[in-house]
C-alpha cells in the first residue's frame, strides 16, 4: 500500500482573485460565476498520487478581505505549502501577493513551499501583470509559478502537482515532522484550572 501523507496547504491572496474558485475547480471540478466572498476560511481535502506516495491536501481556503487578515497565521501555521494567488488583470493584487510572501518569510513555517498562481489567464486581453514579471519574482524567492484559469480549468492540476514535487519525500524516521499540524494534545486539555 502507498503511504498517505497529509499536507496542510493554505491559499492566500487579495480578495476576488479566485482562491475559492481554484479550490473548487481542483476538488470538485466545478466553477461557479456567482461565488460569494469567503468568511474566515473554508476547508476541503483532496488526495492525489505523487511518485510512490499519496498526498492528501488539507486545503484551507482563506478569506481575502482585509478585515480577516489578522487570522491568516492560524491557517499558514504548520502549513507544508502556501498557494499565493493574484489576478493577472489587476496589478494591485500582484502587489498584495508580494506582501503575503514577505509575511510568510517573516512569520510562516520554515521551508514552506510557496506556489504563485496568476489566476484568470482566460482574460489575458485585459492583462495588467506580464508573465515575465511573475516568473522573475518567483525565481527570486524560489517559488513555483503558473498562470491558471479556474473558469476554463487551465493549469489547476498542474499547480498542485508543482507543489507535490517540491515536497521532500518522506523520511521513514521523521514521520509527522514534515509539515502539517503541530497543535499538540496539551493544547486541548479542557477544563484547565487556573484559580
Amino acid at each position: 500500500m502507498m503511504a498517505i501523507r497529509e499536507l496542510k496547504v493554505c491559499l492566500l491572496g487579495d480578495t476576488g482573485v479566485g482562491k475559492s474558485s481554484i479550490v473548487c475547480r481542483f476538488v470538485q471540478d466545478h466553477f461557479d460565476h456567482n461565488i460569494s466572498p469567503t468568511i474566515g476560511a473554508s476547508f476541503m481535502t483532496k488526495t492525489v498520487p505523487c511518485g510512490n506516495e499519496l498526498h492528501k491536501f488539507l486545503i484551507w481556503d482563506t478569506a481575502g478581505q482585509e478585515r480577516f487578515h489578522s487570522l491568516a497565521p492560524m491557517y499558514y501555521r504548520g502549513s507544508a505549502a502556501a498557494v499565493i494567488v493574484y489576478d493577472i488583470t489587476k496589478q494591485d493584487s500582484f502587489h498584495t501577493l508580494k506582501k503575503w510572501v514577505k509575511e510568510l518569510k517573516e512569520h510562516g513555517p520554515e521551508n514552506i513551499v510557496m506556489a504563485i498562481a496568476g489566476n484568470k489567464c482566460d482574460l489575458s486581453d485585459i492583462r495588467e501583470v506580464p508573465l515575465k514579471d511573475a516568473k522573475e519574482y518567483a525565481e527570486s524567492i524560489g517559488a513555483v509559478v503558473v498562470e491558471t484559469s479556474a473558469k476554463n480549468a487551465i493549469n489547476i492540476e498542474e499547480l498542485f502537482q508543482g507543489i507535490s514535487r517540491q515536497i521532500p519525500p518522506l523520511d521513514p524516521h521523521e514521520n509527522g515532522k514534515n509539515g502539517t499540524i503541530h497543535v499538540t494534545q496539551s493544547h486541548l486539555q479542557g477544563g484547565r484550572r487556573c484559580c
Binding site: 500500500m1 503511504a3 498517505i4 501523507r5 497529509e6 496542510k8 493554505c10 475559492s20 479550490v23 473548487c24 476538488v27 470538485q28 466545478h30 461557479d32 456567482n34 461565488i35 460569494s36 466572498p37 469567503t38 468568511i39 474566515g40 476560511a41 473554508s42 476547508f43 476541503m44 481535502t45 483532496k46 488526495t47 492528501k56 488539507l58 484551507w60 481556503d61 478569506a63 478585515r67 480577516f68 489578522s70 487570522l71 492560524m74 491557517y75 499558514y76 501555521r77 504548520g78 514521520n175 509527522g176 515532522k177 514534515n178 509539515g179 502539517t180 499540524i181 497543535v183 494534545q185 493544547h187 486541548l188 486539555q189 479542557g190 477544563g191 484547565r192 484550572r193 487556573c194 484559580c195
Partner: protein, 580 residues
C-alpha cells in the same frame, strides 16, 4: 474528492451544485451550525452595568431577557472568587419561553441513535465558558474581564471546552472577525451523527471526534485509530466528546465515591461547595456522569449563583430541598443551603500527586462557618459496603504515578459495573412483565404489559439479584426501595415501558400481517371490516410516526391488506374510505 474524511462527503451531498466557498445553502441559514450550537455569546464587564452581553452570534438568535441575564451572571466567577488568568467552566440553565427554531428532522435523527445520557436537551441550555481576567492598564479599572460562551443543547463538555481553548485566546486577541470566521467554519461541519468519526476543521486545525452511539459498548472508547499511515500527521484527536477526567475530579473525595454514587442514584439533593466555577462544574458533571448508562433524570447545575432565576425555588425552606445537584462557589450558600441533607465541600485543587487525606464524613451540623474544611457533610449511611480493593488499587496507582487516564478508566469501569449490576435485575424483571408471544393474536386487542410490583421485584432478587454480577455486599434491598422513590426510577421505568409498548404494538401488527385476512373476512359484517381498515390505518400512521420497530415488509403487507379489504367492500363505501 476522496471519501474517508468526515468533512467532505457530507459537504458534497449537502451542497450539490452550490458554490464551494463558505457560502451556505440557501433557505437554511446556520442549519449546520445549529446542529452543534445554539449561539456564541461574549460577556464583558461594564463598569456601569456589571456583566453585560456584548455580542450574540448569529446575531438573529433570540434569547429571552431571563436567559440573557442568566448567561451574563453564569459566565463570570462569583465576586468572591478572584480568578486571575484564564479559566474554563460550564453551566446549565432552564430555557425560559421565547420563540424557538423548529425542531430539525436531522436533530431527531441524531438523537434517536444517541445514548440516553447524551441526547440533546429539550428544555435546557448548556453554557461552556472561557473566562479571561488579566491586568490591563488601558482599561478603566485596570482589568480586562471577558468571557466567550458557547451555548448548546449537546452535553459534549470535552469537545466544546477543547474548542474554546483553541478559539478563545485567538478571539481575545483578534476580536470580531475571528468569531465570524469560527462560526462560519462550524457552519461547514458535518452533523453530529451518532456512531460516526468526524473531522471538524476549525481555525487551521482539524479536530477528530467520535460521536457516541447507543450501540457503542459503554466501556469502549472511540474506535482504535486507523492505521498510522492514514493519519500522517495525525489531526487533533479527542478521545471523547463528553467524558471528563473522572479520577482528577474525584481525587479529593476518593474515599466517598461509592457513597456519592448512591446519593446520585437516589436523586438526593446535593450541593457541591467549591473554590471556583471550574472545580464546581467539573465535580457536578462528574457526579451526574456516574450513572451512565442510566440517564440522569434530575435537574443539575454545574455552576449556580445567587442571581440565578431559580435561586428562590431551590433555596426555599418552606419545602424539602429539590432533587437537584448544585455546584456553587459563593460562601453565602453555606448558610442558605444549611438545611440541605448532603453537602460536598471541595478544596483548592492540588496539582501535586500526593495522596488525598482521609476525608472523614461529617455531621451536617458541623457545617456552619465560612472556613469549613473539605469533606462530605451528611447524615446518610451507605447501603453498600465500600469497595476497599478498588480504593487500594487507585491509591497504589497514585503512588506509582500511574497516568490519570488509566486511573480514570479504572474508576469509570467500576462505576459502570456498579450501575449495570444495579440495573440488570430491574431490566430482567421488567422483561418478565411482557406478555408471552403466543398470547398475541391477530384479531384480538393485544394483551397488556403486566404492572411493575415492587414486592414481586424485590422477591426476584433472591435468585436474580445484583449478587450475580457484583461482589459488593450490603443492603441492596434497601437501596432498591429508596431508588423506587427517585426520579431516576421514574425516568427509567417510563422509558422502558414506552419501548415495551411499542414492541408489543409492533408484534401485534406483525401477527395481523401474518394471518390470513380473507379467511377472517368471511362472514364478517361491513361494520367490522370497515373497523379493521380504520384500525390498520391508525397503526400504520403510528408505526411511521413513532418509528415502531417494524420491518418494512410488515408495513408493505399491512398496506396490501388495507387495499384487499377495501376492494371487497361495496363501491359507495370504497369511495368514502378512499376519497379520490
Amino acid at each position: 474528492m476522496d471519501a474517508g474524511s468526515g468533512a467532505e462527503p457530507h459537504r458534497a451531498r449537502g451542497r450539490l451544485g452550490a458554490p464551494c466557498s463558505g457560502a451556505r445553502a440557501p433557505g437554511a441559514p446556520w442549519a449546520r451550525f445549529s446542529a452543534w450550537l445554539e449561539c456564541v455569546c461574549v460577556v464583558t464587564f461594564d463598569l456601569e452595568l456589571g456583566q453585560a452581553l456584548e455580542l450574540v452570534y448569529p446575531s438573529d438568535f433570540r434569547l429571552t431577557d431571563k436567559e440573557k441575564s442568566s448567561i451574563c451572571y453564569l459566565s463570570f466567577p462569583d465576586s468572591h472568587s478572584g480568578c486571575l488568568g484564564d479559566t474554563q467552566f460550564s453551566f446549565r440553565i432552564r430555557q425560559c419561553g421565547g420563540q424557538r427554531r423548529p425542531w430539525h428532522t436531522d436533530d431527531r435523527h441524531c438523537d434517536s441513535g444517541a445514548p440516553a445520557s447524551l441526547q440533546r436537551e429539550h428544555a435546557h441550555y448548556f453554557g461552556y465558558v472561557y473566562f479571561r481576567q488579566v491586568k490591563d492598564s488601558s482599561a478603566r479599572r485596570g482589568y480586562f474581564q471577558k468571557s466567550l460562551v458557547l451555548v448548546s443543547r449537546l452535553p459534549f463538555v470535552r469537545l466544546f471546552q477543547a474548542l474554546l481553548s483553541l478559539v478563545a485566546p485567538e478571539y481575545f486577541d483578534k476580536l470580531t472577525p475571528c468569531l465570524e470566521a469560527v462560526c462560519n467554519e462550524i457552519d461547514q461541519w458535518p452533523a453530529p451523527v451518532p456512531g460516526q468519526t468526524l473531522n471538524l476543521p476549525v481555525m487551521g486545525v482539524v479536530l477528530q471526534v467520535h460521536i457516541p452511539s447507543r450501540v457503542d459498548k459503554p466501556e469502549s472508547g472511540p474506535p482504535a485509530q486507523r492505521s498510522h499511515e492514514n493519519l500522517l500527521p495525525a489531526p487533533v484527536v479527542l478521545s471523547s466528546v463528553h467524558e471528563l477526567d473522572l479520577f482528577r475530579c474525584f481525587q479529593p473525595v476518593l474515599a466517598h465515591v461509592q457513597m456519592l454514587w448512591e446519593l446520585v442514584l437516589l436523586g438526593e439533593p446535593l450541593v457541591v461547595l467549591a473554590p471556583s466555577p471550574a472545580v464546581s462544574s467539573e465535580m457536578v458533571l462528574a457526579l451526574t456522569s456516574c450513572l451512565q448508562p442510566l440517564k440522569f433524570c434530575c435537574d443539575y447545575r454545574p455552576y449556580f449563583t445567587v442571581h440565578d432565576s431559580e435561586f428562590k425555588e431551590f433555596t426555599t425552606r418552606t419545602q424539602a430541598p429539590p432533587n437537584v445537584v448544585l455546584g456553587v462557589t459563593n460562601p453565602f450558600f453555606i448558610k442558605t443551603l444549611q438545611h440541605w441533607p448532603h453537602i460536598l465541600r471541595v478544596g483548592e485543587p492540588r496539582m501535586s500527586g500526593d495522596l488525598p487525606k482521609q476525608v472523614k464524613l461529617k455531621k451536617p451540623s458541623r457545617l456552619k462557618t465560612l472556613d469549613t474544611k473539605p469533606g462530605l457533610y451528611t447524615a446518610y449511611t451507605a447501603h453498600l459496603h465500600r469497595d476497599k480493593a478498588l480504593l487500594r488499587r487507585l491509591l497504589k496507582g497514585l503512588q506509582k504515578k500511574r497516568p490519570s487516564d488509566v486511573q480514570t478508566a479504572l474508576l469509570r469501569r467500576h462505576l459502570l459495573e456498579l450501575t449495570q449490576s444495579f440495573i440488570f435485575p430491574l431490566e430482567h424483571y421488567m422483561a418478565s412483565l411482557m406478555p408471552l408471544q403466543k398470547s398475541i393474536t391477530p384479531w384480538k386487542t393485544p394483551p397488556q404489559i403486566r404492572p411493575f410490583r415492587q414486592d414481586d421485584f424485590l422477591r426476584s432478587l433472591e435468585h436474580a439479584g445484583p449478587q450475580l454480577t457484583c461482589v459488593l455486599k450490603g443492603d441492596w434491598l434497601g437501596l432498591y426501595r429508596r431508588f423506587f422513590k427517585s426520579p431516576h426510577f421514574d425516568g427509567w421505568y417510563r422509558q422502558r415501558r414506552k419501548e415495551m409498548a411499542q414492541k408489543l404494538e409492533a408484534l401485534h401488527l406483525e401477527a395481523i400481517c401474518e394471518a390470513n385476512i380473507e379467511v377472517w373476512m368471511k362472514g364478517k359484517s361491513e361494520v367490522e371490516v370497515v373497523d379493521l381498515v380504520l384500525k390498520l390505518r391508525e397503526r400504520l400512521v403510528r408505526a411511521q410516526g413513532h418509528q415502531l420497530p417494524v420491518k418494512e415488509a410488515t408495513l408493505k403487507q399491512a398496506r396490501l391488506y388495507i387495499e384487499t379489504v377495501i376492494s371487497s367492500l361495496p363501491k359507495d363505501l370504497q369511495v368514502i374510505l378512499c376519497p379520490p
